[in-house]
Every structure is written in C-alpha cells, then in structure tokens.
Symmetry: C2
Subunit: 474 residues, 2 copies
C-alpha cells in the first residue's frame, strides 16, 4: 500500500478501524459489515446500532461514543435527519474521516434538507472530521479490502476513478473488470460537502499506485483549483473525464442529482483544450478509451489498415474511421500485389480495407498472412481488424470453432506484428454469437490485445489515444 502520510485521504484509504453507523441488524445480503468482512478488510470493524448487540459475529455498540477503541473512519448508513447527531458523536470520538452514504440532503432541492447538510458539514469542519459525501457510495480500494460492492474485483490495479455517481461507478467498474482492468482507488463522492474532486485529484497525482486517472464530474465548486489539480495529474499520467450535465436539461438533472453547478459547455470545451485531459461522453466510451490507453501502444500516426471484412462493411468502416479523425489510405502497390496473391477473387478488394476471406473454413492462414503484409506497409501506422462473428460465422453450427480459430490465429500473429493492433468483434444479437464473442474477447484481452464492440468505438478511442499523445508531446 502506498501512503501519503498526513494527507487527509490517507486515513480514508488506510483506516485501522471502521465504525458502521446504522449497521443492519438483519443478516441481509450486502450489509456494510459483512461486505467489508468478506472483501478482505483486516482492520477492526465496529457495528453501531442501538437495537443490536451483535452483527455478523461482531459486538455492536449503541453509539460511536461507546466504542472502546480509537475509530479512524465512520460510514453513515442512517436517515439524513440523524446525520448532525452522528457527526457530533464522531467529533467526540475523534473519528478522522466519515463517509456519508445517506442521501436526502441538498440534492433534494428542499430547504430543510439543505440546512441539514450545512449543519452536518459545519459540525464536521469545526470538529476536524473530513467527509466523503453525502449521497454517495464511498470508497472501493481493493488493496485494503474496502468496497461498497461485493461483486467488484478483489484484485488491485493501476486505475483510479472519482465520481459523483454511484450507479455509474458500478457500471464503470464492471465494464473495466470485464476488460481485465483493475483499480487502485475508486471514490464515489456525491454532494461533496467537504472533500471534492480537487482533493482527490491532488492525492492521485502523487499516488504511485495510480497510473491513469478517470473521473465522472457533474459540478466543480472551485474551477481554478480543479484545473490545477487536473494539470498536476497530467504531468505524470493521463486523465479521462466524463463531464455530465453539459446540455440545458442535463445541467438541471445534475443539480437534482448532486446539487452541482454544471457549468457551461464553452467553459468545459476550453478546459479540455487547455489541459489535454481526454474527454468522453458515456461510461461505455470511458471504458473503451481506458482500455486503449492501457493496452495499445500509441501508433506513430493516424493511418489505419483495416483487415477483415471488406465490401460494404469495409466501406462503412472506412467512413467511420475517417469521421473519427483517422485516415484510411490505399495500401502501397507492392502491398496490394502481395495481398492479391492470397485473396481469391470473390468479393474481395485489396485497396484498404482488405478482406482476407476470414471466416471461410481454412482461411485462418490467409488472415494471418494478410495481417503481416499490411503490417509491413509503410503507409500504415496501425491495424484495425474486424472479426464479424455475426456475419461470417452466420448461424452455422461451426460458429464457435471458427471464432476460436480466428482468435487463436490473431493472438499468435499479433506477437509478430511491428505495429499496434486493435480488434473489433461484432457480436450481433443472438445468443450463440454473443456468447462466442464474449469468450473470444476474454482470450484476446488476456493476450494483451484491445477489443472493441464496434468500429465506431474502436476508431473513436484510438483517435483519442493519438490526440492525447500529440498533446503530451507538444
């Protein structure tokens, strides 16, 4: 575990003891106590519940004040109206940091809820308790066995995520985990009455467990500090940001979600241009861009060689790549000559895209040779290969074998390529092809090859990778 001693976040990531205030007395699945126990947290856990004497095998206490030992961190799982009183208890106990899971504060837009929040914040501030939340999921830090979701990977990784969204965080972690990506630190921080994006970003900039910073931001209270914190991160690691609430109605939705002031599109346009932070619009796109940063060496330029399906699918792929800011130049004459040697006449072109008749039985060898020929073309900076499982496997009984064969050839051939390669696996929407694709995807990801669900997703993510490196080197 990395430590930044004295930093308020250090107590949050490395608590020696945690009080769960409002620990559920029933043995329901997913209670905070059992969740932390099962996830591998090895510090001391103190359930707090005036109506229970024991929870998940641990002694329960009526209040935080009654816990006999020091408490580093408290999780508030109580109705909003009790928050000020619990915070008083935390101050009295000397708790260093609190995560207020509870919602029902300023995000409701109601005056009394806003006051409740301000009151709680004031007690914490005056009493020296740092706060995450309210209205948020809190911390997922697998290295210390901290989580709010039992289904997240227990494996620690090198990606940090900060977010004003709980469900969005769950979606993102799942998408990343399913891409073989693991996390250093994840913080869902909701209304941010104390600790806010700049605090987390400053910490992550110096965090040697974190190599990429990702974030979902609704509003920023101190724009200058946020900008500087992002810049500080960007000096040593890429930053991907999904700025939500940029449309008129989106800003209203953000206000109702975390009481955030969303800011205008033009301000944020300028922010992305000035800092070089990578901009994404959806959680799915963030997962694709993250995968690209982690698994694809940056190509030396924007010229892509498309190998796989040609024909109309290839024309659409070409348009899609160009619209994403890539180039699809014709191969050199010599490359085309070599490709024409291995491609039968039927429906194939060797201009770029090239259809290597992938999918006909026995064509796997042509596919491998096609990849190597395109790799050698100096006109090309990287390869995008499209395995159209939905089409070429068709609904044939040999679908599964074909996909396995193509993936095997691809995994082996990728080792011999001199240029970066990315793979699109088109699944279609029927169970057999979708499950074949999910399995093939895992094999490729394990071989270190980035895989995308569509040409559009791949082209956009790769374009952003190149843009990031262009910015970083100028």
């Amino acid at each position: 575990m990395s430590l930044q001693e004295g930093h308020p976040l250090d107590e949050i990531f490395h608590p020696r003891s945690i009080a769960i205030v409002g620990a559920s007395a029933s043995q329901q699945v997913g209670g905070w106590v059992s969740r932390l126990l099962n996830f591998g947290y090895t510090g001391r856990l103190y359930p707090v519940n005036p109506k229970a004497t024991e929870i998940s095998g641990l002694k329960a206490y009526p209040t935080v004040r009654d816990i006999p030992d020091p408490v580093d961190y408290a999780i508030f799982n109580i109705p909003a109206r009790l928050a000020p009183q619990i915070m008083e208890d935390c101050v009295a106990k000397g708790v260093k940091a609190a995560h207020i899971f509870t919602a029902g504060f300023s995000e409701t837009g109601k005056e009394e809820a806003r006051e409740l929040e301000a009151q709680t914040a004031a007690i914490a501030r005056d009493g020296g308790v740092r706060v995450i939340g309210p209205n948020c999921m809190g911390v997922y830090y697998p290295a210390a066995g901290l989580t709010f979701n039992p289904a997240f990977s227990k494996e620690a990784g090198n990606v940090a995520f900060i977010a004003q969204t709980g469900a969005g965080t769950i979606r993102f972690v799942y998408l990343a985990n399913d891409r073989g990506i693991h996390f250093s630190k994840v913080i869902s921080y909701g209304n941010a009455i104390d600790l806010d994006a700049p605090d987390f970003l400053e910490y992550l900039a110096s965090d040697d467990e974190t190599e990429i910073v990702t974030g979902y931001i609704e509003g920023v209270k101190d724009g200058r500090r946020f900008l500087e914190a992002v810049r500080k991160c960007l000096m040593t690691k890429p930053v991907i940001i999904l700025k939500a609430g940029l449309t008129e109605s989106g800003a209203g939705a953000a206000a109702s979600h975390t009481a955030a002031l969303a800011g205008s599109e033009s301000v944020w346009d300028a922010f992305f241009k000035q800092t070089g932070a990578i901009r994404v619009d959806t959680i799915e796109e963030m997962a694709d861009v993250l995968l690209t940063l982690l698994r694809m060496p940056c190509p030396s330029g924007r010229r892509v060689g498309i190998v796989g399906r040609g024909g109309g699918i290839g024309v659409i792929a070409t348009d899609t790549c160009e619209r994403a800011g890539l180039k699809v130049p014709p191969f050199l004459a010599e490359t085309r000559r070599q490709l024409e040697e291995i491609i039968p006449e039927a429906g194939a072109g060797a201009r770029n895209p090239v259809e290597t008749t992938l999918g006909m039985i026995g064509a796997a060898d042509f596919y491998a040779r096609g990849l190597n020929i395109v790799d050698a073309d100096p006109q090309i900076d990287f390869i995008l290969t499209h395995i159209a499982v939905d089409i070429y496997g068709g609904r044939q009984p040999y679908l599964q074998e074909q996909v396995v064969m193509a993936v095997e050839v691809l995994s082996n051939t990728a080792q011999t390529l001199t240029k970066p390669v990315a793979v699109v696996l088109s699944a279609g929407e029927y169970v057999e092809s979708v499950t074949a694709v999910l399995e093939a995807r895992q094999r490729l990801l394990k071989a270190g090859i980035p895989v995308y669900p569509t040409i559009k997703a791949a082209a956009s993510a790769i374009s952003k990778l190149i843009e990031y490196h262009e910015f970083a080197t100028t």
Copy 2:
C-alpha cells in the same frame, strides 16, 4: 404474392423456373440448389454443370441451352471469364432475368475485368435479359422461397432492403430478424450493370407487400432518376438510406467494392434534406431506426420522460437525449409530488429523469406506478425507460428473476400507457447479464415494445422518427 405484371422485376421475384449455372456437384452445405429447395422454393430448378448428371436429386444439364423447358431466371455461380458465354446461352434460351453472383468484374479496377463486364452487359441488353449484379448476393424473397442465405427467416414481412453489399445485407437481415422484423423483398445488387437502385425503388414504391423501404447505397449512376424514385416511394412509405462512401477514403473503398461513384457529402446532404428520406450511418443504426418506425407510434413532440435509473446515469441519459435533438423538461410539480410519494429518499430524484428504484426486490410495483404517473404528465410526449440490467441486477444470483419481473411489469404496464414508450436494456459485458437481456428483449419485442441497446441508439432513432413525421406533415 403481389404481382406487377410486365415489370421486369416481376420475373425476378416470381420465377416459375430457375437455372443454377455452376451448381456445385459436391453435396456441400449451402449450395444454391439445396438452399432453394430447403427454403421452400416450389418452382422448377435446373442445375447446370457439364461435369454432373444429378445434383441434390435433380437432373443436371451441361448448359442452359440443354434444359428442355422454359427458364425464367438464371443464377450465375461461375468464374467471371465464363459470364459472356453463359449470358449467350441465356439469350438463346430466352431467359428473362439473370443474377450474376460472381465477382471479379469492374470492381477489381482491372481493364480486362471491366471489358468482361461490359461485354456481358451488352449481350444481356441486346438479348433482352435483365441482370442483377454482378458481384452480389441476389434476391431474398421469403414469400416465394427465394434466398441466398439459409439462416434468414422464412417468414415474410413488410420491409424491403436494397443493397450494394452482401455481408452488410446478411448483418442487416440478422439484426432485423432478431428484432422480430421480417422482409418483403431484399435485393443485393452489387455493381448494377443493368438493374439499379432506381429500378428497384420504382418497383417497391408500388409494391403492396412493402411498407418500409431501406437501402444501402454506394453509388448512383442517374442521380435525377434515383431522386425521383425515392420521392415516389416516400409518397406512400418511409425510406431509410445508408449512403456509404461519403468520406474521401470511403469513396475510394466504394469504388474498389462496386466500382461506384460515391458522390460528394454536400450533394447527399441536399438529397436527404429535399426528400425527407431518413439518413443513417451504420447497419446497426438502420436496424434501430427501422424498429422504431415499425413499433413506435410517433410521439406528438420531442419531450421525453426518462424513467428508470436516475443519478449520474440519468444525467448522462439527459445529455444524450438533448444531443440527439430531444427535450428532457422537468416534470410538472404535481407529477413530482406523486412520484415523491412512491420513491424512497435514497439517491432518487423526481425531476426527470426519475429513478423508480427499479431493481430493488419488490420495487416492480413502484416502477409500474412511476410509468403511469409520468405518462399522465402533459409536459411529456413519450417515455424512455432504462432497465440497467448491468447495474441493478449487478452480479447477484437473483439477476434473472429481477429482469423477468421488470419485463413482465413493463409489458403489462405498457398496455395502460397513453403515450409511446421505448425501452433501453443495458446488458453490460458478462455472460449472465447479456443472456438475461437478450431473453428479456425478445419478450418485450413480442409485446410490441421497441427495445434498444443504449440510450444513444434509442434517442437517435426516436429523433429520426419524429423528424420523418415532421417532414411528412409539412
């Protein structure tokens, strides 16, 4: 079967007899003869192959001329160099129309191949044989048992598709079939040396089996005629067009695919604006827009009520809808009051989007009531409901039941709604959630409810539906 007697396409859709020239003598899966027999073609079939005496139980003939009976339609499954000679045979035999499946003509860019194509075209023209192709898959007309792919649905429907792509046609038909959509007529017509888009469109404009026309177009030889044919269709039915090859490299790829002249982006922009044809960029988008036209009554306006996941996912959904040209206005105060009655405090907003706690066990009733409350809001023109199977089911053991429950509630509730409703099912990327979603999707589609994979796909498709109706009524 509908007939347009005397129209050259009538012979193609209703052939009393078909010669398969170059019928495969081996009993390989997917040969033209067995494919047509298995698909239900009930006319006479004549395999032509000088090296065989019998194919799939039918007597084989050395040449078309040797067939004793009249032949309406011939499919050329022979090397390109033989095409002129076979066409001579067809002329001599009085064949009315031919589908040249074979590739290796002008799309290769080679002079001798271009000459071969011109020669074949001239023989056909002088001899009165109409031609589909070359370099194409030909006709899929389930009502007459005609197909080029054995896995296509045998059920006839009301959608026509014309395309200069074979693999793209397979992808599109699969996507449509998997959405419960079936076809009237599909024509993959490749290089179009004779019959071209305007011929097919003119026919489809008067075809009473066809209620929606869709097309993938690379190039158009006679722009004026194409425009008029699209207009003729649009007088009675929607037309969705994917115009491929609009970027610089895309145009090059199209030339190499079907020798098409792709035309400039500005000309096509004007075409879409003038005609009111619906523009799409990918095959997947075409399937989503088609589904919307077929399954969603046009909303009376662009104001969407988003029901399902709120929070950050809701903010992103709001931005996505607005960017697609929809509006996400706040609900009326009365609507919000009613929603607040059924929504527990935790993390929920009732502004729009509204989070109906869908996904917590027992929340299905709230979900149904939430849909009804939003439906009654006069500020809202239609409902988009988001079932985030990837998040709310999590990786819980009860995922499957939850999804089934939500879908059941939704199917029943949809009957009681006064406004159009669309559903987004987020699958995530792990096998359990993906298979649960595919199954849930089928149930909803069977209940007549349109389902989309992402908010973006839904918002864009619905926006295009509204745009089409706005154009049609002005």
